[in-house]
């Protein structure tokens, strides 16, 4: 077993519990001993884009101090937003002057020494597990389920922190294929859903969501899959009556199900497809 420090973030303990459950089930089968970091706090959700706003990096950096305290050199995130803030803040405070100031401010903590790598689940699956090994561990294939892979913003932008090519990403599609699903053409997969505008400008988010869901449905998707809890919320909850009714799930739900976890949402989807006659639990690896 390979030990891996894990930062859950707020959503994994609340709205995205199904994502965490499925992913942790899969990671255990893939040989990881997941160690949740102690006393973690909010990552900050959105990365501060200002040059003089060091205060906004205290949240993410404090979490990195916890990782350091565990004696680990890297930390895993499942949530796209957590990935963005932790990875970018880790880089921002590499500057010695900023590091010194933030350490002076957090005087009750151990000094952060830097050098913690922040890894997103998708990168881990591609670069360390590998698509072939992932496919070999599949217990029940997604049986060609047509999946629209929604990246959103933070996984791909800015370029320096992108988990894949920001213009033509394929990592989520390859993961879906390894699990036996069929990725569909989905032009809006990298376009923003409106993110936190959902708090006060629901109208804008609803318009974005309709476009995104139409794009997914246009590609013939049975389901949309994402790793971002804010995208998932917007795509599922900020839906006008005329928007396509395609369900929106977390990647962890699909991943966990394929590797044998209980996940009623996927079972229902497969059973509800036109032409579905018998349960797709062949148990065979691809």
């Amino acid at each position: 077993m390979k030990r891996l420090a894990y930062f859950p973030g707020c959503a994994m303990k609340d709205q995205a519990r199904a994502d965490e459950a499925g992913t942790l089930h899969a990671l255990a089968l893939l040989g990881y001993e997941i160690a949740e970091i102690p006393r973690w706090n909010c990552c900050g959700t959105v990365y501060s884009l200002a040059q003089d706003d060091l205060m906004r990096h205290v949240g993410p950096v404090r979490n990195l101090v916890r990782v350091q305290g565990m004696g680990e050199r890297r930390v895993l995130t499942l949530c796209a937003m957590c990935y963005g803030t932790l990875a970018r803040s880790a880089r921002f405070v590499q500057d010695p002057e900023r590091l010194q100031r933030i350490n002076a401010f957090m005087d009750t903590e151990d000094d952060f020494r830097g050098g913690i790598e922040v890894v997103h689940l998708l990168t881990l699956l591609r670069d360390e597990v590998g698509y072939e090994k992932l496919a070999a561990r599949v217990k029940r294939s997604l049986d060609g389920l047509r999946i629209a892979t929604y990246y959103g913003c933070v996984l791909l932008r800015p370029r320096e922190f992108a988990v894949d090519d920001p213009d033509r990403p394929e990592v989520m599609e390859r993961v879906v294929e390894a699990l036996g699903g069929t990725p569909v053409a989905f032009p809006e997969r990298t376009e923003c859903c409106g993110a936190y505008l959902t708090v006060g400008r629901k109208d804008i988010v609803e318009e974005r969501v309709e476009r995104i869901l139409r794009s997914a449905r246009g590609g013939g998707a049975d389901v949309v899959v994402t790793t971002c809890p804010l995208c998932q919320f917007n795509l599922a909850e900020r839906r006008l009556p005329q928007a396509p009714s395609v369900p929106v799930l977390y990647l962890g739900q699909v991943l966990g199900w394929a590797l044998g976890a209980e996940e009623p949402a996927i079972a229902d989807l497969l059973a509800g497809r036109p032409g579905a006659s018998e349960p797709v639990c062949s148990g065979g690896a691809r």
Binding site: C192, L197, V199
Partner: protein, 131 residues
């Protein structure tokens, strides 16, 4: 013989542009107004000035940029920045404009948030829309 033509930014001497540059870390004068940011912005339809126009106002040192709704409609999705041929991260310029307004102590957080609303959205909005 023609006298030397001074095309340097010093001629503009716009303190507002310098302040925005300082806060954002992005040089507004790098922009040559190609409009690629605005063409690809998913929120441009809802803005009272397009992203390239916002940047133009900053270049001109025009503080009316602070009264626009555009920076508050920008969701920091960074689609503009990855496409900019001059490498200007315009989302940072938008953030600087938000901060200059917020630092006057005025919150842009909606008084009646749309419900339901998960904590991930609330925290994001608090961090972008309050001083």
């Amino acid at each position: 013989m023609a006298s030397e033509l001074d095309l340097s930014r010093d001629r503009l001497d716009a303190p507002f542009a310098r302040r925005v540059e300082e806060l954002s870390g992005e040089n507004p004068y790098a922009c040559y107004q190609c409009g690629k940011c605005s063409a690809g912005c998913p929120f441009a339809d809802h803005m009272d000035a397009l992203p390239n126009q916002v940047l133009r106002l900053v270049q001109l040192g025009d503080e009316s940029a602070l009264t626009l709704s555009a920076p508050w409609v920008c969701a920091s999705c960074l689609a503009c920045g990855v496409r900019c041929p001059k490498g200007v991260d315009i989302a940072k310029t938008m953030e600087a404009l938000r901060l200059l307004a917020l630092r006057k102590g005025i919150s842009h957080f909606p008084l009646t948030p749309d419900r339901p609303c998960p904590q991930i959205a609330l925290v994001g909005a608090f961090r972008k829309l309050t001083p």
